[in-house]
């Protein structure tokens, strides 16, 4: 872990500024800022308030890109048709920008729109979820599963109390029924389990150090092949009412 005291100070700063704005649910951008400050790998994500900013940021991050709506009122961005993945040119960006905002307006006319986030595009990988919550009896608890149907429909997920050691985190990964998918089936190389172990431990530590965080959801995390790391592509953090 990067130096704990410094990381704690950074995260505390971000969280208190969110509270000052009277918000409890962090946007994707805020959530990723917290995670990055905590040493959890996230894909590069920048806010663009209008088209000209978007064009500028896009040139910096470089194509292909991901475009997502930035609004504190839109939690399910896909449902609002507020996501475009794999934009390859400025022309596409210019077309998509307006389209995205129109879609979200149609979905929820009173949604406050901050703009869009321009994000680094991640190549296809196995997708996993890491989450955390505060259990009323046991406190900080981490969750792991494969993203999508696996976790959401089949409930193929595992839990451990945080903080947890690397062995516990590894056991969490091996415990799910879908583990062979990560270990590598049909001659696929294994996914980078060590990178996932690290993320699980860090997310657990974050929930443990900040009991005011009631929910953390990294969904999905792109787990690349062994040795190539894992990167959080979307994230959501929720704060409790107290404090």
């Amino acid at each position: 872990m990067i130096e704990l005291a410094a990381a704690k100070k950074n995260v505390t700063g971000i969280l208190s500024s969110i509270r000052k704005e009277g918000r409890l649910e962090l946007t994707e951008l805020d959530s990723k800022r917290v995670l990055a400050a905590w040493g959890v790998p996230v894909n590069r994500t920048e806010l663009a308030r209008d088209l000209s900013e978007a064009v500028k940021v896009a040139r910096e991050i470089r194509y292909p890109l991901v475009l997502k709506i930035a609004s504190p009122d839109i939690i399910h961005k896909n449902e609002a048709k507020g996501v475009k993945v794999g934009l390859t040119s400025e022309l596409e960006l210019r077309q998509s920008f307006g389209e995205l905002i129109d879609n979200v307006h149609a979905y929820k006319p009173d949604a406050k729109i901050l703009g869009v986030t321009i994000q680094e595009y991640l190549p296809p990988a196995r997708e996993v979820i890491v989450g955390a919550l505060q259990d009323p009896s046991f406190g900080a608890t981490v969750m792991f599963g494969l993203a999508g149907v696996w976790a959401e429909v089949l409930k193929d997920i595992s839990f451990r109390l945080a903080p947890l050691n690397a062995e516990d985190a590894r056991e969490m990964i091996q415990e799910i029924k879908g583990y062979p998918v990560l270990a590598g089936i049909q001659r696929a190389p294994p996914a980078d389990i060590n990178a996932l172990v690290d993320i699980i431990q860090k997310v657990g530590q974050l929930a443990h150090e900040f009991p005011e965080i009631t929910e953390i959801n990294l969904n999905p995390i792109f787990a690349f092949d062994d040795g190539k790391g894992a990167v959080t592509a979307d994230a959501r953090i929720v704060l409790g009412r107290g404090k």
Binding site: F138, G139, I157, F159
Partner: protein, 445 residues
């Protein structure tokens, strides 16, 4: 902390306080008071004093002031109002601990009670403790039920609910599984599951700790206590209240228990069958199980259930196989060792000795079929002897027929062998021995 709980489990003197002529059907009714007095006079090896406010029971006194000062436990079978009224007098007798049988205390009364008790350094079990405390070695049986005193043994039980606790005791009696200590927590105003767990971890007579839980107060402290306990002895948890608390919370609980090395069971029956094995048999170093049987059909079912539970069938070494075949040429050795329907005690003895000498065997299941074979009830003693002799490999017994199983259990009563009436129970017991072996390895024991 555990030193203070000691008075509850290991009293030298007990004072029972109630009223034999009260009207009422609650926990503090005269009937229950009568049972408690009976149990204590009948079993308890220490000194018993009875205070009967109605002044009718033989050998009782009417006033608290007539009881000598400094008794280890005061068991109070009075309704809340009377408890509160006599609180000062009770504490004036300088009792070391208190068991409150009746429920129905309001918040104010409980606060008052725990405040005074804490000031006087008196530990309180309850309120609402109908099945209270048992210590078989000392003959202590603070329960409102007659005929519930289990035999002496290595199983300790903690229950958050009295009726479930009573059912656990009843099962222990019918399994003839020996119990060291028992306590139910009731309302848990003072003494908690964690206090009891910490005491039982240090208790020399306790070999395995069973806990029935619905919810936990100081969750983290409780888990830390389990982590400490499992390094000395196995802890088996039966968790209730999934419906009330939801599936996700239950899964978190299950994972947390796994993380600290506790074993989990799904009902009282399994709790007892697993605890019996853990108390009597060594744990398994690996997951390879040898099956020795005098009939092949039931062995098929045993093999199936072992594999479902994640255990493997052991493959005997050539040396051991040869030795068995040389002596008993009709033995069939493949997935299991079928020693034939004509097998008697001697053959069981010889084959078990050979199988247990094989380093590729982590555990042994013996199947005895008494019906339509030449095996006699007496012959099964050899299984008990092998189980007792085997120091690092567990041996457990399955008798497929229900009535025969009762006979075998009766025959082997008091012996260090576990007898099951179904392959599933036996497999669950072996799984527990296997996972506790893993837990010890994890903690470097």
């Amino acid at each position: 902390m555990s030193g203070e709980v000691k008075a509850i489990f290991e009293p030298k003197s007990v004072v029972l306080v109630g009223a034999s002529a009260r009207e009422g059907v609650g926990a503090a009714s005269p009937v229950f008071f009568g049972s408690l007095v009976h149990n204590t006079l009948h079993f308890f090896k220490g000194k018993t004093h009875v205070v009967d406010f109605s002044g009718r029971l033989n050998g009782s006194v009417k006033n608290l002031s007539e009881v000598p000062s400094g008794c280890d436990i005061a068991v109070i079978v009075l309704p809340p109002k009377l408890v509160m009224k006599n609180l000062r007098k009770l504490f004036a007798r300088k009792v070391k601990s208190m068991v409150l049988v009746a429920g129905g205390f309001d918040q104010h009364q409980l606060e008052e009670l725990t405040r005074v008790a804490a000031k006087q350094k008196v530990r309180v079990l309850g309120p609402n403790v109908l099945a209270g405390v048992i210590n078989t070695a000392k003959g202590l049986c603070i329960t409102l039920e007659r005929e519930i005193m289990p035999p002496c043994g290595g199983i300790a039980m903690i229950s958050q609910n009295c009726a479930v606790g009573t059912a656990m005791l009843d099962r222990a009696c019918s399994y003839s599984a020996g119990v060291s200590k028992f306590a139910s927590i009731g309302g848990g105003a003072d003494i908690t599951e964690t206090d009891l767990l910490e005491f039982l971890t240090q208790d020399k007579e306790t070999k395995v700790i069973c806990i029935y839980l619905e919810s936990v107060r100081d969750g983290r402290r409780f888990l830390e206590s389990i982590r400490e306990a499992v390094q000395k002895k196995p802890v088996v948890v039966l968790k209730g209240s999934t419906v009330r608390e939801g599936v996700e919370r239950d899964r978190i609980f299950v994972s947390a228990l796994k993380q600290v090395g506790a074993l989990q069971v799904s009902d009282i029956e399994e709790l007892l069958s697993v605890a019996d094995a853990l108390a009597k048999q060594p744990c398994m170093r690996g997951n390879r199980v040898a099956v020795v049987t005098n009939v092949s059909g039931p062995a098929v079912l045993v093999a199936d259930v072992l594999s479902r539970e994640g255990l493997a069938l052991a493959k005997l070494s050539n040396k051991v196989t040869k030795k068995i075949i040389q002596t008993y040429p009709n033995t069939s050795i493949a997935d299991w060792v079928d020693i034939g329907i004509d097998a008697n005690g001697d053959r069981y003895k010889f084959v078990l000795e050979q199988v247990l000498s094989d380093s590729g065997v982590d555990g042994v299941v013996v199947v005895n079929e008494l019906k339509s074979t030449f095996l006699k009830l007496e012959d099964i003693q050899e299984v008990a002897k092998a189980a007792k002799k085997s120091e690092d490999t567990p041996v457990i017994d399955i008798v497929m027929c229900g009535k025969d199983c009762v006979l075998v259990r009766e025959k082997l009563r008091g012996k260090d062998v576990c007898v099951y009436d179904s392959p599933r129970k036996a497999a669950r017991a072996l799984c527990a021995l296997c996972s506790y072996g893993k837990t010890l390895k994890r903690f470097g024991k």
